[in-house]
Amino acid sequence: MAGSTLTLGKALNEGLRKALEDDPKVLIMGEDVGRLGGVFRVTDGLQKDFGEDRVIDTPLAESGIVGTAVGLAIRGFRPVCEIQFDGFVFPAFDQIVSQVAKMHYRSAGNVKLPITIRIPFGGGIGAVEHHSESPESYFCHTPGLKVVSCSNPVDAYWMIQQAIASDDPIVFFEPKRRYWDKAEVDPSAGAPRSLWDAEVVRAGSEVTLLTYGPSVKVCLEAAAAAETEGRDIEVVDLRSLSPIDWKTVIASVRKTQHAIVVSEAPVYASLASEIAARISEKCFYELESPVLRVCGFSTPYPTSRIEEDYLPDLDRILDAVDRSLAF
């Protein structure tokens, strides 16, 4: 099959379709994922083609979605659960952190839970409360879970298939404000890299921006803007948030000697904090300045009319670049 131009949402849809075709044990379950095709249309057409037994409109209960996925997985299925929005994962939090995350450990490796939990996350779409959150740190903080996030259509297509094929439970964060971004996706090309690899999406020599999901695009724009002022910025898309590809991260920071972590999540005790701490440990002698974090503030996600002031944007990133280099 030749490549075609797909939105990130459509790339996920094609990836899910491929996963359903490749493995009869793959199931999709969630609220409104069937007839409607999901509120973002990520599962559009899948129920029609694979039937109601494999693409399941569930009752309205997130704990039920994840809890029954556990049972289905014990029985040998590979459930792909959709949580409709980031803020609605919490009714399932207990099932995810106490059951999904620990089953393999508790069973001495006898029970595998190849469950993928898809969560559209992040802000910037002008939504009402509970629809713009970035809860990834909770899941990264939970041993037993792997956490990944795609930032572009090509990764969306491949990463969702790799996540479904993984024998570990994976929380898969989808950057909802990038669902409509387009790129050329070529299914015949083969996955460009492992699910666990970070990617240097822009090479540079002076500062490393470490980021993921919706913020990758913002960082690339910031790097492009900085270039006009003669600054040479490297951007690393982490892709996997737990575990992190430290090799790529550390190689980049050793090269540039300046690191800034960019994420929409509230900064306090966040994934960005873990990254900053690790870099300080591993690159202490190479660093020319402290690792900075450009993140959401430590408040609830604010009301949409001021969300632009909350989200890391070009100006805040460039301000941090200046501070890092001026140190």
């Binding site: 609220e31 409104d32 069937g34 007839r35 409607l36 095709g37 509120v39 109601e52 037994d53 409109d57 569930t58 009752p59 309205l60 209960a61 704990s63 039920g64 803020g87 609605f88 919490f90 009714p91 002008g126 939504a127 009402v128 409360e129 509970h130 900064v267 306090y268 503030f297 430590s298 408040t299 609830p300 604010p302 009301t303 949409s304 009319r305 001021i306 002031d309 909350y310 100006d315 805040r316 301000d319």
Partner: protein
């Protein structure tokens, strides 16, 4: 694995006092006897509540609101429940209870901040006995139960009404609220507006028995009322609230109705339901039947209806002006009210943002 509907759309178990044609009928267990003024007032409420909704929908289309959750078709359910509530009663709404808010005396403009994106509700629930809107499905049913347990412990007179939808009936929180309220005989009425849909999922995806029958298993009575019949909803709600107030515990009221519009302004219902369904429900319109009743009995005439329409126009103008006057907040306020006791962490972040924003001043 097709799921079959086991729910008759109407049947002997449906409490109805006013038929879709506007004829008064009697029910063995529930009755209502209002003054002519009161009947007219209910009609007026229905019309005004619908007008709040149409004006807000228009404001959303014009870009003044980011989102709106329409109650179109559910006016009688909300006015019937809302008018059954008295001063000491407390309501715990979802995001669609604009009609209940109106009955509780909440200015509709107050509701718009959340949908415009200038605040997250922000009203004081104690002012009118109307809690903040709750978007996370089902959570508020537990809050309502806890509030009712508080009333009980204070020896207070009031009761509580918890609003939720047919979809919400599947949530763990709602089922826990049923258990709690039953065990503690809490003075709470669970008012479920079964509008047949949870976004794209039909009722059969949530239950194989009529929702009101669920109550039995939890140990309290359930009743299904014609949710498009304001008289029946008022009668059933009053009885349930009375039962709660006198210490006999919770009741589940299932108001059988229909969401005539999209789930919200972001939704496209043509993707999952047939237009014919809407046409059937239009024949059961809650306002038309009340109007027919008032006309038939001579309780109201053309002049009265015209007067109500004028009042609706005035309310719409008030809502529009109020909405446009809702300004964007100052970004620095995003740190306000995160904590009651303040936080040194946020003090620091606030200062950082202020300094950062200040660095742009003069740059322009």
């Amino acid at each position: 694995m097709a799921v079959q509907s086991v729910q008759p759309s109407e049947g002997p178990e449906l409490v109805q006092l006013l038929t879709p044609e506007g004829e008064r009928v009697e029910h063995p267990d529930y009755s209502i006897d209002l003054t002519e003024d009161e009947y007219r007032e209910l009609y007026r409420d229905l019309v005004l509540v619908r007008r709040i909704d149409t004006e807000a929908t228009a404001l959303q289309r014009q870009g003044e609101l980011g989102l709106w959750a329409s109650l179109l078709g559910q006016e009688a359910a909300q006015v019937g429940a809302g008018r059954a509530l008295t001063g000491g009663d407390f309501a715990f709404p979802t995001y669609r209870e604009h009609g209940v808010a109106y009955c509780k005396g909440v200015d509709p403009v107050t509701l718009l901040g959340l949908f415009r994106g200038v605040n997250q509700g922000g009203w004081n629930p104690h002012d009118k006995g109307f809690q903040l809107y709750t978007i996370v499905i089902g959570s508020q049913t537990l809050h309502a139960t806890g509030y009712a347990m508080g009333l009980q412990r204070d020896g207070a007179d009031g009761a509580v009404m918890a609003f939720f939808g047919d979809g919400a009936s599947s949530q763990g929180d709602v089922n826990e609220a049923f258990v709690w309220s039953s065990v503690f005989q809490a003075p709470v009425v669970f008012f479920c507006q079964n509008n047949q849909w949870a976004i794209s999922e039909p009722l059969e995806r949530q239950s194989r028995i009529p929702l009101y029958e669920r109550a039995k298993g939890f140990g309290f009575p359930g009743v299904r009322v014609d949710g498009n019949d304001v008289l029946a909803v008022l009668a059933v709600s009053r009885a349930a609230l009375e039962r709660a107030r006198e210490g006999s515990g919770p009741t589940l009221v299932e108001a059988y109705t229909y969401r005539m519009g999209p789930h919200t302004t972001s939704d496209d219902p043509t993707r999952y339901r047939l237009a014919a369904e809407l046409e059937t429900w239009k024949l059961k319109d809650p306002i038309e039947r009340m109007k027919a009743y008032l006309s038939r009995t001579g309780m109201a005439d053309h002049d009265y209806f015209a007067e109500v329409d004028t009042a609706a126009d005035e309310l719409a103008a008030h809502i529009r002006a109020g909405c446009l006057a809702l300004d964007d907040p100052d970004p620095i306020t995003l740190f306000d009210n995160v904590y009651a006791g303040g936080s040194t962490l946020l003090d620091e972040e606030r200062e950082q943002l202020a300094a950062y924003l200040g660095s742009f001043e003069g740059a322009h």
